[in-house]
């Protein structure tokens, strides 16, 4: 029953390896943007070397491509903002004890919705709500489609936070709101971010289908290429959409790494 303080080493030594986690970006991180830049450069040189006919020139000029890119990005941003504005609060709400019983049914409905083909959803909205603005149709359809990944990951992320930790926080006198903001959400961030990243990529890709209902975006360039059988136009449209999606995914991945809480 001697009561002297033992040296700290009485417990196992601290695991030091975990400290040096954030290292300089590896070449792998920069590989993709370099590749994408090279692809874009190659495309520019290729298109520039071609003798473009009148039809091709109608799609392949800076003004047209820029306007479609801006349309594409605008639609995507509006959709993503709507997704986040609904899915994150809904996910938080559905993980609160009082609303938890609705979580199962909501996820079941969302899962069935996910089996709906995106093109089908956009067209269905277009033929049912004929009076709607085509951009509204695209925004609503793509928004509905992108809610699930963010909603599900918000719920999973919050649910995997250790209950005992929340109780410890409550036991120390943190208010439920404070526990939510400074314990639960920070710890759910990695899972939530990966859901948001998925939703971003899905959104940017699905907005390419806006062209089918005449709502613009870079999908127009692909459609022009198919309709006019001009491979140069088709290639340009496809490459631009692909590069945009990959770039968004890469950026989101970067943000994901940056926002991940340290130590967790």
């Amino acid at each position: 029953m001697s009561a002297t303080a033992p040296p700290p080493s009485a417990d196992a030594p601290p695991r030091r390896g975990a400290t040096a986690r954030r290292t300089a970006p590896s070449p792998r991180v920069w590989g993709l943007p370099l590749l994408l830049a090279a692809v874009l450069g190659g495309l520019y040189l290729y298109v520039g070397s071609q003798d473009l006919d009148r039809i091709e020139r109608r799609s392949l000029n800076a003004e047209y491509l820029l306007s479609r890119t801006v349309q594409h990005l605008t639609l995507s941003v509006v959709v993503v903002v709507l997704i986040l504005a609904v899915a994150i609060p809904l996910g938080i709400l559905l993980t609160r004890p009082r609303a938890r019983r609705f979580a199962g049914p909501v996820l079941a409905v969302a899962n069935i919705g996910q089996a709906t083909p995106t093109l089908g959803l956009i067209v269905l909205f277009a033929v049912v709500f004929v009076a709607w603005d085509v951009r509204t149709i695209v925004i609503v359809a793509v928004w509905l489609y992108g809610i699930l990944p963010v909603l599900r990951n918000t719920m999973v992320g919050l649910d995997q936070v250790d209950r005992s930790m929340i109780e410890a926080a409550r036991g120390m006198g943190m208010t439920p709101l404070r526990v939510m903001l400074s314990v639960e959400l920070p710890l759910a961030v990695p899972v939530m971010l990966s859901g948001i990243r998925t939703a971003l990529v899905i959104t940017v890709g699905t907005v390419a289908l806006a062209t089918f209902v005449g709502a613009g975006g870079l999908g127009d360039v692909i459609s022009n290429g198919i309709a006019s059988s001009r491979d140069t136009v088709l290639l340009t449209g496809s490459v631009l959409v692909a590069v945009l999606a990959l770039a968004v995914d890469w950026l989101a991945g970067l943000v994901e790494d940056l926002l991940r809480p340290r130590g967790a």
């Binding site: 709906t116 083909p117 067209v123 490459v239």
Partner: protein, 216 residues
């Protein structure tokens, strides 16, 4: 509702034809992905190169479907060919990743004892490792199938087969009473297929999980 049913009884042949095409298209894509993905997984699951292979497969999955179909028209023309290849590329990541994960999580002691009994490397792979990894592989197929069923609707935009054609017909007849019916047929057809595929894979999973093996 009655309008939809009346209309459907009128074009049930076209609907079944499109559904069959859709199914075949998805199965072709899945089949090719398995034919290429499984050997590739077997070759790389222990090698460092597996991360590179998975990264490339991940890039395909990130490319939006309309863009990938579009990119494939130039070399392959319009129709079934670019559709099948695009679906194969999309199925690649789930198939490959699950095969690699399934093979990697096998207890090394099992492999070692099989080698110790004199089985060749190939025999170990075919008789021990692949059967043990099968449930995980099938889960990958299940995920891939669900995804392909939806993406295959885009095939219609490159003159490919499948239920997407009903959706695009619905679009082009927008304003007529049939527009909604045609689109609904396409959409519901795909949802029903998704449910049937899911049931099928659930049954397969149960069949292939060896008795005495804990469900992975």
């Amino acid at each position: 509702m009655t309008g939809f049913l009346d209309y459907t009884s009128g074009n049930v042949d076209a609907l079944l034809q499109a559904t069959l095409e859709h199914t075949v298209l998805v199965l072709q894509g899945l089949g090719l992905a398995v034919l290429i993905g499984l050997p590739l997984a077997a070759l790389t699951y222990r090698a460092r190169s597996r991360t590179a292979v998975l990264a490339v497969a991940g890039v395909f999955l990130t490319i939006p479907s309309y863009a990938l179909f579009g990119l494939l028209i130039t070399p392959l023309g319009l129709g079934t060919a670019p559709s099948v290849v695009a679906l194969t590329l999309y199925a690649f990541l789930p198939v490959l990743r699950n095969a690699i994960v399934g093979l990697r999580e096998i207890d090394p002691a099992v492999v070692e004892s099989a080698r110790g009994m004199g089985l060749s490397r190939l025999q170990v792979l075919l008789r021990v490792e692949l059967p043990l990894a099968l449930p995980v592989i099938i889960t990958g197929l299940r995920v891939a199938a669900q995804m392909l069923l939806g993406i295959a609707a885009i095939a219609a935009a490159v003159n490919g087969p499948g239920l997407g054609n009903l959706i695009l017909q619905g679009l082009s007849s927008a304003g007529t009473p049939f527009a909604v019916y045609l689109t609904l047929q396409g959409v519901l057809g795909i949802i029903v297929l998704a449910i049937l595929f899911d049931l099928l894979f659930a049954a397969l999973n149960r069949l292939t999980t060896s008795r005495g093996m804990i469900h992975v």
